[in-house]
Symmetry: C2
Subunit: 210 residues, 2 copies
């Protein structure tokens, strides 16, 4: 299905069918979309956690005000951004970048300095917010690719981030939770699927500057 047709088809799933699982190929496809979508400078300043443990899913559900997608969806991805982005991370990126394109590392020294300069000029909170925004681009890619594949999905932000961080041990990893992408099959009983999608008229969302 074309992305736009898929986006018209999709809706924010509240109740997934807990008995239906996406297959390996479907999940790999969604993960590739997340991996290939761009991020600022290509830094990918986030991790994506696939929550398989049933027990942890239960605990996350509690920390998400009981929202059933956490336990009922086939797969749950938690996006978590790096809370900082120090010179060690920049080095790793420069190394990966050089290796990928067979560029001698010293040729990237100016680029490394530029990245360190930009990031060093920001407060840690600014860096964390910036990183979290990149994760939202990846969430947009997940939702778009899922729509194309007619895979049901729910994007979720309404959860206690501190509790998620604690349950998933994110702080020790220099991460903090941002948003959730739950995917699977809608339950036939989910009433939300029968509602029409609410969207602004195009001329209200867009404005031409001419």
């Amino acid at each position: 299905m074309k992305v736009v047709d898929g986006l018209k088809w999709r809706y924010a799933v509240k109740r997934f069918d807990p008995n239906r699982k996406l297959n390996r190929e479907q999940i790999e496809y969604l993960k590739e979309a997340i991996n290939y979508i761009p991020s600022s400078y290509g830094l990918q300043p986030y991790k994506v956690l696939e929550i398989e443990s049933k027990e942890i899913r239960e605990r996350l559900r509690e920390a998400a005000y009981g929202q059933p997608q956490l336990t009922e969806a086939s797969h749950v991805f938690v996006f978590a951004n790096f809370t900082s982005y120090g010179p060690d991370k920049v080095d790793a990126f420069i190394k990966l970048s050089g290796e990928t394109n067979n560029i001698p590392e010293e040729n990237n020294n100016a680029y490394r300095d530029m990245l360190n300069g930009i990031i060093g000029s920001m407060s840690q909170e600014q860096v964390s917010t910036w990183n979290s925004k990149q994760a939202y681009i990846a969430l947009g890619a997940l939702l778009s690719a899922a729509a194309e594949q007619q895979i049901d999905a729910a994007a979720m932000e309404g959860f206690d981030k501190a509790k998620f961080d604690e349950i998933l041990g994110l702080k020790e990893k220099g991460l903090t939770s941002v948003c959730i992408g739950a995917v699977g099959y809608r339950s036939p009983e989910d009433a939300n699927q029968f509602l029409k999608k609410v969207r602004k008229p195009m001329d209200q969302l867009f404005e031409t500057i001419d």
Copy 2:
């Protein structure tokens, strides 16, 4: 092209061919992707500006450190989020929502109160940041849909936001600029297209919690 294949095909275009324009149908498709991608509660707390004026494009380019995409791309979208989201906007959303699904407005009173409660508990800066994150989801959809259609694109964040806001008169509209999506045709001379895409190994980006 499938989204993931398109994402592998694409790259961050630096130089567009200034003589080639996307057609109306292509642009409408991209705009529909932006409109149909979800946002938190469906609020779409942003506007998307299509910059057609050549003169304004020149000024934006200056405010974006001379980056050539601003003047050379076929179309330039500037995403701008609402800096606040007051009860008037909630009312408009509730009205649209009720009309779309033929729900008497009073049935949505509890939902209205909930939204006003959530938003009212945040500082204006928190609301603005939250809104900007929703715009990033839409940017992710634009990039995904463009990739599917093999439309070249560049996502851009490196610009002087205060200057953009001034040039576009955003402050008076309760908006602030967030990010740019420039689309069109790559120039055959853009050296970036010959670089391999730099991405983390999947097992570094993803982590399974089991």
